[in-house]
Amino acid sequence: MTFRTPTRRLFLGGALTTATAGLILPRSARAQEAVNFQLSWLHSVQFGGSYIAQDKGYWSDNGLEVSLLPGGPNAPVEPPVVAGTALVGISAADYTAAAVNQGAPFKIIGVAMQKNPFAIASLAENPVNSPADLVGKKIGMALANMPVLEALCAINDVDIDAIEVVPTQYDPAPLVQGQVDCLLCWATDLPVAMEIQGIDNVTMLLADHGYAVHSQTYIATEDSLANRRDELVALMKGEVMGWQDYKADPAAAAALTVEMFPDAGLDPETQRLQAERQVPLMFSDLTEAEGFGWFTDETVAANIETLELLGKPVSADLWDRSILEEVHG
């Protein structure tokens, strides 16, 4: 049982532990800097590019030894990044904005999902194809996501009082059982699960209806940006290379994920479908031109507008492209 204490002083302790471990474990000729990378959920192909980077040595070639820490239902990303136990975390612009408004010193240094994965999922016989279809429907969602629905309604002039919100757990059962007409969920998980179970369903991506919020964003503290730039650049370089490989062959990324985590209970077919579905969210004309993870003043401005509607006002300072510029430059 390792006992980690997250003070700056004890970073040294962490480094020492790693050094000791290095004496026992076989190591490459180059000194490896050990960092933790906090993922936002359980291991799955959602982080396929990172597994490729790990597997192909894109990090170790750059002198970085990365531990990928899985998330979970009660594992928010922000605390370990603030505490310094993780150098970088996977968050989303709305979560990061909320944390910054509460005093967390975060910057967004890269954007994996250009299009937000939030979607309204419904059954094919009672579909929600546009925001207007929500009127008179029962929607199942976590109450924490209420601002998301409010923003969608505001952008599309839909009367939110005409929608009945039912608080549900994050699983497809309430929809399939007919307790609700639709679900607010990620396009890449619950709809995929229903597809695999043979349930005909329809997804409406919020991003296609004006909801512009960067997702699966890379966050780091201002302190790390000032003092640990080399490690940040090395980590993001590995990410960019890994995700480029992912784009070339999502099915291989899915296969690698299943192979790397035999204890995670992953279904190969589900992983393959999910890998395919997240490609259009992560890669666009913008990333084609500028490279994976990129963002521009325009995409940031669109985010600021939506975040304002979400009640999370932020300035463009929240985004910092300097690491990406070094990676791609």
Binding site: M1, T2, F3, R4, T5, P6, T7, L10, N36, L42, H43, S67, L69, P70, G72, P73, N74, A75, P76, E78, P79, P80, V82, A83, T85, Y95, A98, Q102, G103, A104, A142, L143, A144, M146, V165, V166, P167, T168, Q169, Y170, D171, P172, A173, V176, Q177, G178, Q179, D189, L190, A193, M194, I196, Q197, F261, P262, D263, A264, G265, L266, T270
Partner: protein
Amino acid sequence: MSGALAQRGRLAARLPGGALIALLLALIAWEAIARLTAQSFFIAAPSAIVAHMTDHAGLLWRAFAVTLWAAVRGFVWGNLAGVLMALLVVLLPRAERLVATLALLVFCLPLVATGPILRVLFGPGEGPQVTLAALAVYYTTFLPVLVGLRAAPQGWFDLVRSYGRGRMVALREVRLPAALPYLVAGLQIAAPAAFLGAMVGEFTGAERGLGVLTVRALRALDLPATWSIAVIASAVSVLAFAAVGWAGRRLDLAPPQVLLASPVEARQSRWRGPGEALLALVVTLALWKGAMELFALPRFFAKRPEDVWAYMVSGPGAEAHRAKLLGAMAETLSFTAPGYVAGLAFGAGLAVVLTLAPRAASLTMPVAIALRSIPIVATAPLIVWALGRGAAGTIAVVAVMIFFPTLVACLHGLARTPRAVLDLFEVYAAERWRRMLGAQLPAMLPAFFASARMAIPAAILAVTTAEWLATGRGVGALMATVASTSDYGMLWSAIALIGLVAVIVHGLVGALERWVLSRTNAEQLAR
């Protein structure tokens, strides 16, 4: 050991045919219902569960081993802590209020707050799982053991004293033997709780284990997987429960004594109560701040007492924060109270029924244990489906969470009826219900009140869970929402308020307990 449970083994041996047929019929009915409702994804058929278990035997086995090992370590540490705290209170009676308050407050800490902190403290690995398993069991061991340490006749203490011996001898010769049956009850309650604690602990970012697989299965609408995990969790809990009971019977516990003690008069100083309360408050605040400073937890997510004070009282927006939190709390309490009473009544009532009709125990106990050992995230959807998202569903979730410890404690309490008293009823050929009312129920009272105190934090946690998963109202929904938006000021304010409410209710139940026990079981109040 309770008579009902002690007879289980023998009953099963005597009636294999009937029990087997009943089991077979139940399985057939289960299979039929599952197949008929397959389109709505409620219930997995036994055949599908078996098929899933065979297909994924390796995966399930590895996950089970990981979770079990964390649960076992948590079980050991948590019970050790519970027993040590009870010993401390008996040896230093003046420390009782303080120790009991701190134990209660720590038990009230919700997973949304402890999860991230434990993960930051321990880093990757199984530290949080073990800790959460330990946290899930220490309180339900502490309270019964404390009752047991006091369940000895006053005359024996006088005897020890007349030989010029002190507290340690009284502890070794009188108190510890008296506490053993209560320890067995505590350990039996702890067995499913530790396993559940380890599973839920995996929600804080674990690599593997049955908890991880549960989350995955729920989202994938993989019913056979969800139910396979539920079956495994229940089976291991039933086995652990039975093993502890078996070990308890092997200890050859002394038959219960007639506990005579003279009624206790409340003769304490007017300042003692408020003084102890103030001390508990000061120590709590000091530990809260001290621990966070010691581990240098960032203020961003580990709010200190003064941060909560600023958020709720002196800082900007305090009035709005207060209104929001108090409104949510009022709503939560309106569901907690009926659920608490229902769970206690159901648990104690079932204990009485099972004592009067021991044969029913062999069918009832496994179901009761299963209900307690499956994560509420897996059972809540079924309860919601059956009872809806309104008051009935919430109250049912609370009752499910607290009736099991109550049932076990009360069964053990009933079994502590002194032999001599039962013989007396026998001599007069008294009816069973008369014996229950006159002899067994009074013997059960200390155990019942211990479970009434155990159930306070459990009921609050259950309501907040139901609010988070199903109703979307009250403090539970508020805590889930603010945790996902990094509003840790509100989260810690909610925790502080929950702690305060728990302590107040605990005080009220304690007062009622003293009032009743001073008339029926005065030995519990002798210091």
